[in-house]
Symmetry: C2
Subunit: 114 residues, 2 copies
């Protein structure tokens, strides 16, 4: 049945989101050796990024909560799909730079890239 | 400073994950008009998919918990990046088909695609 229900490769349906940003909001207990993004402030900065993306009226963009992205030691982290560009960030200013440079103007922020 | 800290387009760094699957695990209260993926069983099926992907030894793949992916009415849903292929699923058999057909053999499962 495979030739009926499947096809050879990912196809050309338009993307549901043009920019899909996943913000790690995993929280480990205080003192955990790997740390976690939420204990480093990711939840508030996720909310900030959502507001900034909305304000910038970036079409078909979504800022999404995610569980552990498994780059804890480098966090807090986000990943921007479909490009697969990863960032660490530490402040609202970092989020502003990612939104304004990358999401609005298409320029990756190399200083925050991981 | 933009020419120092940024560059013109997403660049060629190898992807951290070759396949990054986000499983909506958002839970709304019972009776909410939009429903939610978790109330339709996504959490247990996420765990099942994680186990199946591990068992299949798919390299550089990660099954990730996600918050609301905003396609609640079609859920439970997952999205596979960087391809941006979306699925709805309802059972372990559906997950098996996505893992075996798409993730292992590169064939999108059209009957589950949304």
């Amino acid at each position: 049945m495979e030739d009926v229900t499947t096809e050879a490769a990912p196809t050309t349906a338009p993307p549901f989101f043009d920019v899909h940003i996943f913000v790690c909001c995993n929280r480990r207990p205080d003192g955990h050796p790997r740390g976690s993004c939420a204990t480093r402030g990711s939840e508030a900065l996720r909310d900030y990024m959502k507001a900034r993306v909305k304000e910038a009226k970036i079409p078909h963009a979504r800022v999404n909560m995610a569980g552990c992205l498994d780059r804890c030691e480098e966090g807090p982290t986000i990943v921007v799909y479909p490009e697969g560009v990863w960032y660490r960030y530490a402040s609202e200013a970092d989020i502003d730079e990612i939104v304004d440079s990358h999401l609005v103007n298409g320029r990756v922020v190399e200083r925050l890239r991981i």
